[in-house]
């Protein structure tokens, strides 16, 4: 305990010295987030300074081992760092799918060589990763994927198409599920890594209803992938994918609660008196939202303690995303005609409407609500049948 208190005071001093004032403000838009990668540029000197200070301490990935560019912090220390960063509203120095997704998979399934190489790149923000899971024909039914990697001796030749690859047009490398055995459904998939600049890779952004294009279609046309660019064993990529999907749901569950933690009605910027029926709907929503916040906290506490049912993240993801959609429906209702505006200055370019539309993906991406309910029915309630 004494050690932890010392760590806290050291952390506080270090943050005081290294986190610029400008980096102690909420993230307003996409540009305030530094994603790293080959083509990255800093938005400001302060952003650069803060990133570099963190890289030096390993604080872009505080809990990863030091030898892979991490901070080597214990869980308790990492929590203190989070708390102290939260206290001063410090922005994350680096965001990336490498940190959130590939990293955890490599830590569990990667070879020592891979960890050294890829994790360090991620920690230092050198390579920006994207994810190649879904295909047009395989949404919830992920395992029906068709993208095929043909064995060509020392490499695979990959052909196919991925969809919903986040920021594929800006990413340097992709981690990608590829079928390497057409006979075996689950045990015929491999988890491959390759450079997006490889010959035969092309991307096309997908325009969403929110007007943004954070996702791409990615096409692979005779792409050569060396045999050592695989995580886990050949044809056992589904294990890696499942682990990552679980991790993703856990992450969505654990971190998605940001703005759900507060009372909607209290947080809302209202003009005039609230319609009494809308007020009642908000009150009933706030009961749900505040109760869910307690469940988030309980979930995190149980996770740390190794308690709780392993399928619980599915419940969390279901309830959390459905609530978030409803929250934004109510925000739109409270905002009235003003919140309908699509590109006005007063709405900061249609933020309420675009955010509202964005939330509709919450219950689709990372496993639909329907899939979550299936899993809860089967694995927690142990209901019979297919």
């Amino acid at each position: 305990m004494a050690d932890l208190e010392q760590f806290r005071s050291e952390t506080r001093s270090w943050l005081e010295a290294n986190c610029p004032e400008e980096m102690r403000q909420p993230v307003h838009d996409e540009k305030d987030v530094y994603w790293g990668g080959r083509n990255a540029s800093f938005k400001s000197e302060a952003q650069k300074q803060w990133f570099e200070a963190c890289v030096e301490k390993g604080y872009t990935v505080p809990a990863w081992p030091k030898e892979y560019g991490g901070g080597g912090l214990s869980a308790a220390e990492a929590k203190i760092l989070r708390e102290e960063m939260g206290r001063i509203n410090a922005r994350p120095p680096l965001s990336s799918f490498g940190i959130w997704m590939l990293g955890p998979a490599l830590l569990k399934f990667g070879t020592e060589e891979q960890k050294k190489h890829y994790l360090t790149e991620i920690a230092r923000g050198e390579i920006r990763w994207c994810q190649g899971y879904s295909e047009p024909g395989s949404g919830s039914d992920l395992v029906s994927m068709q993208t095929f990697g043909e064995d060509a001796g020392d490499h695979w030749v990959v052909n196919g198409q991925k969809i919903w690859t986040s920021y594929a047009d800006k990413a340097d490398w992709i981690f990608c599920l590829v079928r390497t055995d057409k006979e075996n459904k689950y045990q015929g998939i491999s988890f491959l890594l390759f450079d997006m600049e490889s010959e035969g890779v092309s991307t096309r952004p997908i325009k969403l209803i929110s007007g943004n294009s954070p996702f791409c279609e990615t096409f692979m046309d005779d792409v050569k992938v060396p045999k050592d660019q695989i995580v886990g064993e050949v044809n056992r990529g589904w294990d890696v994918a499942k682990y990552l999907l679980g991790h993703e749901r856990e992450m969505i569950s654990a971190t998605g609660g940001g703005d759900r933690a507060t009372s909607l009605g209290a947080a809302m910027n209202r003009q005039g008196e609230l319609d009494p029926v809308l007020r009642a709907e908000m009150a009933l929503f706030d009961v749900d939202a505040l109760a869910f916040t307690a469940m988030s906290e309980k979930f995190m506490d149980e996770l740390k303690a190794g308690k709780g049912h392993p399928a619980q993240p599915n419940t969390m993801k279901y309830a959390g995303t459905e609530l978030n959609k409803k929250r934004h429906e109510l925000i739109m209702a409270a905002g009235g005609s003003r919140s309908l505006e699509w590109d006005s200055e007063e709405t900061d370019g249609g933020k309420p409407a675009r955010s509202w539309l964005r939330t509709k993906a919450n219950s689709i991406e990372g496993g639909t609500s329907e899939i979550m309910l299936n899993v809860v029915a089967k694995r927690i309630l142990e209901l019979p049948g297919a």
Binding site: S134, G137, S138, G139, S140, D141, S144, I163, W164, I206, K207, L208, I209, G211, Q271, G272, D275, P276, V277, L278, E281, K325, E329, M332, A333, G335, G336, S337, R338, S339, L340, E341, W342, D343, S344, G350, A353, W356, L357, K360, A361, S363, I364, E365, T368, S369, E370, L373
Partner: protein, 379 residues
Amino acid sequence: MALYHDDDQAMLADSASQFMAEEGSIAKQLRHWRDRECKDGFGHALWKQFGEMGFAGMMVAEDDGGLGMGNVEAGIVLEEIGRNLTPSPFLTSSVMAGTALGHASADLKERWMPGLVSGEQVYAVALDEGPKHRPESIATRAERSGNGFRLSGTKDFVVHGASADMIIVAARTSGSDSDENGVTLFAVPRDSGGMSQDAVRLVDSSVATHLKLDGVELDGDAVIGEVDGGREVLNRMLQAGRVGAAAESVGVARGAMDLTVDYLKQRKQFGRLIGEFQALQHRAAHLYSEVEIARAAVLKAQQLLDAGSEQADLMVSVAKAKAGRTAGLAVREGVQMHGGIGMTDEYDIGLYMKRDRALSEFMGDAYYHAGRVAQLSGY
């Protein structure tokens, strides 16, 4: 009167359905104009076709050159507009302004009716004075000035205001903001000095304005109906607008449901059509039930309104609330059941979601109208 369309109405429904599917389709109209960032948010050519078809002036009395039809008939056209997301000034011009002008002087009718009937002119209404619909309270002032009036105030959510040749403005000629009496309606021509508009594109690609009246001078003959006695005409205009928006919402709900049910019959997952999954079947069947209920409520409100019944006001609010909630359910279920592609701009289902949002807000959302139902029921 039986609560279904009579033969004439069924024929009208057929022709409106065919016309809208052919000329007013999403590809031909909504996407076309949206992708060109059209300043009007709709096509004038189509609006003239509305005139040729007789739709534009359908609610205008036969003596004034129209077809003398009622809210049921206008609702038939609006439901097809909703199904096809057809952008047009039909609701604000033909239904709302048309209803109000029906109570105007012969001079005013002569000035504005022909352009409406032919679809050559576009009219808008300026009622809201804040982000929420609260027409009980009107702060915009119209002071006597010579033979006429001088209008000052601001209005919001003036749909098609930027394209409108004339805007009907509700202003206060006496009393305090929330007084029942003391309201007067004005037909304000687009070029009136002192009127300025700030156009904003909305989520559904329509264009509305924030309107500013900075001492707008109007002749006394711009008054629709009686000075200080505009509340009754205003209420009729509101009722027509509300039940009209409700009819369009039912169309949006049906369009979204049809798209979604079709998708359930095509999309395969886990080796089965997703429409085979019972959980989705039940949700789709529940949605169907809600849509049928909303349709009936809207038709009932239209009939009561056309019959001049005292119950019309209550039923109009029931219809607006129910249709809005139902369309909301339809588009949410639609996007969710479409899965990832439902989030893409390429598929139409998202357009239904956007239109529903704007339409549900227009002339009072479901919360507002549920509150009215409670009030009118004495609780």
